[in-house]
Point group: C2
Chain length 180, copies 2
Amino acid sequence: MDVGTLCLGALEMGDATGYEIKKMFESGLFSHFLDASFGSIYPALTKLTDEGSLTCTSQQQERRPDKKIYSITPAGREALKRRLQQPISGDRLKSEFLFVMLFADALPQETVTTLLTNRLAELRDELTNIQAKSEEPLTSGQEFVRRYGEVVMEASLNFIRDNRHLVENPMTTRALENVR
Amino acid sequence: MDVGTLCLGALEMGDATGYEIKKMFESGLFSHFLDASFGSIYPALTKLTDEGSLTCTSQQQERRPDKKIYSITPAGREALKRRLQQPISGDRLKSEFLFVMLFADALPQETVTTLLTNRLAELRDELTNIQAKSEEPLTSGQEFVRRYGEVVMEASLNFIRDNRHLVENPMTTRALENVR
DNA sequence: CCTTGCCTATATCGGTCCTATATATACGCG
DNA sequence: CGCGTATATATAGGACCGATATAGGCAAGG
């Protein structure tokens, strides 16, 4: 599933510029499970326009670069529907946080504590962000995805909060085991 | 955090060939939050060996390609510890499943049902796999990571199982709302 | 019996994608 | 008034994945 498909999906929800599409991946409904950079969005939009899946109206602005507003065409809607029914690849999590945690026993406790605290703060931010979207009117598909994100983030957050002592105080743990 | 660091981490847990490192990413302790391909593992191992972070003993085999067994050196251990204390980037989930679910309302119900069923099966497999590792002796860091994966997978699985009707029978949902 | 497919094992190519940067301007803050 | 941040597009360079090539072993099944 390439960036072109993601852009088609984003524009299916309303006209937007490349910049606005990027923001959807950063803080919008997509933010918790997708990612795309300018370096892939802009070429994809150009290609989709050439193929007839998008139209582009260049809106001149005073003393700013032209805003290129893209809209999905009927052909683009068809293309999206086709692409959505292609086989998909499995979910993939990339977590440098968990990778470092594997070696918690060999790292300074301060490093581990900072990492855990930062990750908790990140999760709280993301959770607040996704909960705010429950105010907006959503299709059942969108609401399913939103709540999925909410549930998974809550589970992650609760787990870290309740188990961080296991990697922050490994000595204590071992001492307790010896006493038992 | 590049593939080289991931390889150093893998080899910190024991000597291995490139092929075995790949298997760790596919079904080992790493499988639920990391990924790396042959195309990046083999060059990384060569580079790390040149830098002195790894040694490589080529074990000749009858009628097979030579097995190149890599071991981490003291210098490699130092390098890993340094790299683990560099700033990390945030967790990132890539889910084509959730992307397609956003448009569940516009897709044939059969497609949606198949997608949900497949995703549930995938999650059950991964969960079985990660639960099996509770038998092995693990450091507290490793056990923290294992249980984190277990908890998040269970939350995902339960959510999909309990809420799939919202995207499988959107008509029913709407009808119920009208009745209310 | 013999073909088909999967497992071990290394390696590389093509193409996709991210990171960092360049270019311009506006706006709010101290 | 400078600084950081936001708007807005674009590209070069490099990291990385997916597919493929090579090559033999083993097991299942027709």
